[in-house]
Amino acid sequence: MIEIKNVNKTFQSGDRVVTAAQNVNLTIEDGEVFGIIGYSGAGKSTLVRCINMLERPTSGQVLVDGIDLTELRPAELRTARKKIGMIFQQFNLFDSRTVAANVAYPLKHTGMSKQEKDQRVKELLELVEIADKANAYPSQLSGGQKQRVAIARALASNPKILLCDEATSALDPQTTDSILKLLKSLNKKLQLTIILITHEMQVVKEICDRVAVMENGKVVESGDVFSIFASPKKAITKDFINNTSNLSKIYELIKEGAEITKIKAGQCIVKFNYLVKSYSEALVSGISRQFHIDVNIIFGNIELIDQQPLGGLVSILSGKAEDIEAALDYLKAKNVGVEVILDERISQ
């Protein structure tokens, strides 16, 4: 378990004081994939680097399995660090060493024999599915392959925790996906606790169990991923979520006056958000039948997060004004988020 208690970190740059982390409190359970999301400069890296003391908190405590890392002596800290792996956006592989030598690097001075090391390196490379590149140099690898090597190297000393500082930010979407899948499988296979920094909600959605949203050095919102997606409280969280779903495109389309948004009198454009866990009722056909209105779905975006549908639909409703109104009330009562975006209904 990782407990971050009242952590503050300030940087002195010239006569300016930058507060990169402010009164941060987080608890991360064993075996969890924990996301930290925020815009550039929010303090995500600083906070994560405080976990392995690459950055020393100005005040506060960082407890890993009950041991306060801020109190350790240098030699003790080095031992503790071996149990906390870290991977980076820029991979940080040693260019002068082969893939195998990079992965063997943390095994130096461990008293392992050459055979044991070779065996361990082989296992690790197989674990990250890159055994065929053992004798290649990093410059001969693609970004995704480099990150796999970096992961193998970070896991060499059998850490319980893996810190990922924007580990997929330099990768294309497909490669990002494959690395996230790998991380998730390592999380399961090795009961590895993963802390993952990102500025993409997509990544959080993909593999995180819980997420903390950071803004100006503070954690402004945190919780399990489904709840955060279903009912974001802070504007910044809503922003992040909107950016991942194409539902927000409707606003642009209307602004641009796109053909699809030109509705006739008696119609309205409505955005439905699925807010409730395990929503399984036949929503669209239901209101259509019950209230005698037409529901024309323009586009939708419903995904499974935590095996629960989450997302929404943008639809054009047409029918009598009071029928539409009644249908919307009915949906609201069912805890569906309803937002009328464009209204051309004829009021009686």
């Binding site: 690459l54 820029q90 130096k108 001969q140 000393s157």
Partner: protein, 226 residues
Amino acid sequence: MNVFLNNYFPNVMTKVPEFYESIGQTFQMVIWSGVISLILGTVIGIVLVITRKGGLVENQIVFQILDKIVNLFRSIPFIILLTGVMPLTRIIMGTAIGVEGAIVPLVFGTVPFFSRQIESALSQVPAGLVEAAESMGNTKLQIITNVYLKESIPQISRAVSITAISLIGLTAMAGVVGAGGLGDFAVRYGHDRNQTDVTLATIIVLVILVSIIQLVGNFVAKKSSH
């Protein structure tokens, strides 16, 4: 062969033993002061990199002092250094003349240059690599040897060859303290007595020497960059 040499290098052929001796003196000076400068320069280069702001063992006082000293010695022309450090040379070597007398000023002339070369070579190691090593629980010494030095072998080997070549240039002036060497040989005969073939012969030897150093340096750099 001999006919050819007698034809084109008449003056050199009359003093072959002295010519060989000069080459030997140049070699002695280059190797001795080279090895000492290599060690001192590497140490100073490392200290400059790790003590500077944001470095592994940041220490502004050490950095500033060392930085200023290096600059100071880099700005003194070698010909002045050669006689200027004579008292110190006498203390260290017991004499201020001959090949022994030349080594101390050559070291003083070379170390600042080489330190800067090493400093710049090590500075090119990305900070991220140092961080990665720290995150893996490396000691500072391990980071210096396994990351800083190991990762910049190509740049270091280029720095060594550039420094060795400039050192050969400096030894040409060592005649001032009676250390002999090829430069002195060329000045005494080639220039003072107008024996152009002597000058030509020393130039040929120096060009070969410099080329070999350059080739070896490039070879090591190439072999170690991936």
